[in-house]
């Protein structure tokens, strides 16, 4: 190893460093950018607010895991329409605790972006070389059948019976054993999260990684960013420690869709000539349905999210399988008392599948919450988008019954707790749920520092360089001009790689 990594216990006093590029945030986008810049011979410092986790630190208990790996203890939510949303705080960012789905943004969506945001060279063809390079680096491949487990294969069977397209999810996983523990940290070390893939590679290429460092300000002079300032913060408690100052020839922000805008606003409303910083917030709200089968499904075994259907992508939703810590899934089961307990006992015969909607009419914004670096997130769920999600729930119901489920638990307010046949489930089609009837959550988020060809309408250009500063780049999914229709991580990484190569060429 030629670079270095510092953890909280290493800090003895103020930290000062100088480099070619400082990258803020070690999630999928920041890690890719740091690696590509270091591999190109640039002197790179990578800063991460969270600590690095080892398998010893993983918690199988869902509540404790979320409290340790997620911002605000995993209890962050939007106002306007109240919806839980989760962002990780760890070396590797969300990749440590996501399900590793790597989907390429479809060509039609790139075309829509190009038209809406006046983009000229952000097409699927432009990004495919970057997707390919990342796929090769991480070993991204379709989930093999032998680790799907019955709950994923039933989804496949249901889709096939209906004649709907479906496919095994491509994931950044090598040697999956089917533990279904992606959301609490992969004990099998099969998931190629950034902390065990791109970050060590960046260190090998010479990058210096400082963990437990919270960046509080981007320093700038005229049209140039000059570095960042912040503090060492203790893991989990966030207790402030020594100051940190990194001087750099270029600054790359990958702090996340909800943090990057706040950092810019705290830095004198940097890069906000367009007034778009913190605006255009979009989510992929999702909801899940449980289906109970006559025979044991043994859902404890199988890839966390092994199968998906892109059949309805153009209609605005994606269908996929899901597993999570059982205590998290059980929250949505109906009933109380002994009836609730019976539903818990039935989980062994159950599969859970979910849907996410593109929600192109639902917008929000992010602002500072008081003086803190935590965001105040306001978002509205457009009724038409809620209807789209309702159609997705109906589609899931059809797959369940086509796969042989004896009943489904739709989890929609105002409907029966259980629907026992396709005929009964038609109520989902006939009475599409309203936004208020759905229980939704989202981890996919974009748009708050959007890319736009016109500097008056967006924050960054097609290389992810800020319109207002010559050497400030933003490479998290906040640059998406809109929903990518599928899981955003892979497209964020591809854009980050392209931006990093462009920046490396300019230094």
């Amino acid at each position: 190893m030629s670079g270095l990594v510092r953890v909280y216990a290493d800090y003895r006093g103020p930290v000062a460093d100088r480099c070619d590029v400082v990258v803020v945030g070690s999630g999928p986008c920041g890690a890719v950018a740091a690696y590509e810049l270091a591999a190109a011979g640039r002197d790179v410092v990578l800063l991460e607010e969270g600590p690095p986790f080892t398998p010893e630190d993983f918690e199988l208990d869902g509540a404790r895991s979320m409290a340790r790996t997620m911002r605000e203890g995993g209890l962050r939510f939007t106002t306007g329409y109240v919806m839980p949303t989760m962002q990780a705080i760890a070396l590797g960012g969300g990749s440590l605790v996501n399900s590793a789905i790597c989907g390429r943004c479809p060509e039609f969506r790139f075309a829509e972006w190009a038209e809406a945001a006046s983009l000229e060279r952000t097409t699927r063809r432009d990004l495919d070389p970057h997707y390919d390079a990342i796929a090769e680096f991480l070993g991204i491949a379709p989930t093999p059948d032998e680790v799907q487990g019955r709950r994923n294969l039933l989804f496949r069977d249901g889709c096939k019976a209906l004649g709907w397209d479906c496919e095994p999810c491509a994931r950044n996983v090598v040697g999956c054993r089917g533990s279904g523990e992606c959301f609490t940290g992969c004990r099998a070390r099969a998931k190629q999260s950034m902390d065990i893939s791109y970050v060590p590679a960046a260190i090998r290429a010479g990058a210096r990684v400082y963990t437990s460092v919270q960046v509080q300000r981007v320093c700038a002079s005229g049209r140039r960013a000059t570095g960042v300032e912040g503090r060492v913060v203790a893991p989990f408690t966030g207790a402030p420690g020594p100051s940190v100052r990194i001087e750099a020839r270029a600054v790359v922000l990958a702090a996340g869709v909800l943090a990057t805008p706040l950092l810019l606003r705290r830095s004198g409303d940097l890069a906000n000539g367009s007034g778009q910083v913190g605006e255009n917030l979009q989510f992929h709200p999702g909801t899940s349905v449980m289906g109970v089968f006559p025979d044991p499904v043994e859902p404890v075994f199988g890839a966390t999210q092994g199968y998906q259907s892109l059949h309805f992508l153009r209609e605005g939703f994606k269908l996929e399988t899901l597993w999570a810590p059982p205590g998290v899934l059980a929250v949505r089961l109906p009933g109380s008392g002994l009836a609730f307990k019976q539903n818990l006992l039935d989980m062994r015969r159950a599969a859970v599948w979910d849907c996410i909607a593109s929600c192109r009419r639902s917008f929000g914004r992010v602002r500072e919450r008081g003086r803190s670096l935590q965001p105040a997130i306001r978002w509205h769920f457009h009724p038409e988008d809620a209807r789209t999600l309702g159609r997705a729930v109906w589609a899931l119901a059809q797959i369940f019954f086509a796969a042989g489920a004896e009943r489904i638990l739709p989890g929609v307010a105002g409907l029966p707790d259980e629907l026992h046949s396709l005929e009964e489930a038609r109520v989902l089609e006939q009475r599409p749920p309203r936004a208020a009837d759905l229980v939704v959550a989202s981890t996919h988020v974009f748009g708050t520092t959007r890319m736009h060809g016109d500097p008056r309408k967006g924050v960054v250009d097609e290389d992810c360089r800020a319109h207002d500063l010559d050497n400030l780049y933003i490479v998290d999914t906040g640059v998406f001009p809109g929903s990518p229709a599928v899981n955003p991580m892979f497209t964020g990484m591809a854009l980050a790689r392209r931006a990093a190569l462009a920046l490396a060429g300019r230094l």
């Binding site: 404790r64 533990s179 989990f236 929250v331």
Partner: protein, 245 residues
């Protein structure tokens, strides 16, 4: 003095109660006095409702007060009553788990949860439980009333009420499932996995510890570990081992 008080004054004079220097009684003084008495009574009643009648605090708890612990214990046993082939909320150790989990949260979130508890405990004033005494605080309701009340919240037509209920149920359910006995009971206990050592494990120690806590060397990278798919009926994670359903 208004004309309405004149007969009263005459009566007081007749009865010898109208003394020199005494201020006359009048409606303008009675109303504020009555209001003050009412406010004081309400305050006493509210204090008694909010503070009185809880048992002593469990010394093993760090975060939860006696009132909060009593609430969570009552709510956990309403959500997960004894019977039904699974442990009750009390048997699963829901309160102790919640206490430990609260310690991991930022102060703001802890405060929000305390407010949730306070609200739910006394929300029977707005949304009473069925049966006699349905407006008593949650912990004073009968077990049947508690169960019916939770059911009522979960099925409310008001989304805000359902959100409050979902928040409470999230806390209870995730803590209930922290119990190995529960996970074994529902057949969802995690399986044993031998964790391989990867390059990153040589780079940093477990969270919060110094570099001396890195216990792996490059030789450990070569240690062979199984890479085959897990067997759903195979051995359980050691922390969850026990009799399976």
């Amino acid at each position: 003095m208004g004309s309405r008080s004149a007969p009263l004054e005459a009566r007081l004079r007749r009865d010898g109660l109208w003394g020199a220097g005494r201020r006359p009684l009048c409606s303008a003084a009675v109303i504020p006095t009555a209001l003050a008495l009412l406010a004081a009574s309400l305050l006493v009643w509210a204090c008694a409702r909010v503070l009185a009648g809880y048992g002593p605090r469990d010394p093993g708890l760090v975060q939860l007060s006696a009132r909060e612990a009593a609430f969570f214990a009552a709510a956990a046993d309403a959500a997960f009553p004894p019977g039904g082939g699974l442990p009750s909320g009390s048997e699963a150790g829901v309160v102790a788990h919640l206490d430990g989990w609260l310690a991991l949260l930022p102060a703001r979130n802890r405060l929000l949860i305390r407010l949730l508890v306070l609200f739910f405990e006394h929300a029977t004033l707005l949304f009473p439980a069925p049966g006699r005494g349905g407006r008593r605080r949650f912990t004073r309701l009968s077990p049947a009333q508690r169960g019916a009340l939770l059911e009522d919240w979960g099925r409310s037509r008001l989304r805000l009420r359902r959100i409050v209920f979902a928040s409470l149920r999230t806390l209870l359910t995730s803590s209930y499932f922290a119990s190995p006995a529960v996970l074994r009971g529902v057949g969802l206990a995690p399986l044993a996995i031998e964790t391989p050592v990867v390059e990153a494990d040589l780079l940093w120690p477990p969270v919060g510890r110094g570099r001396e806590a890195i216990r792996w060397t490059r030789a450990d990278l070569e240690r062979p570990v199984p890479r085959t798919p897990l067997d759903p009926h195979g051995p359980l994670h050691p922390a969850y081992a026990g009799e399976r359903r």
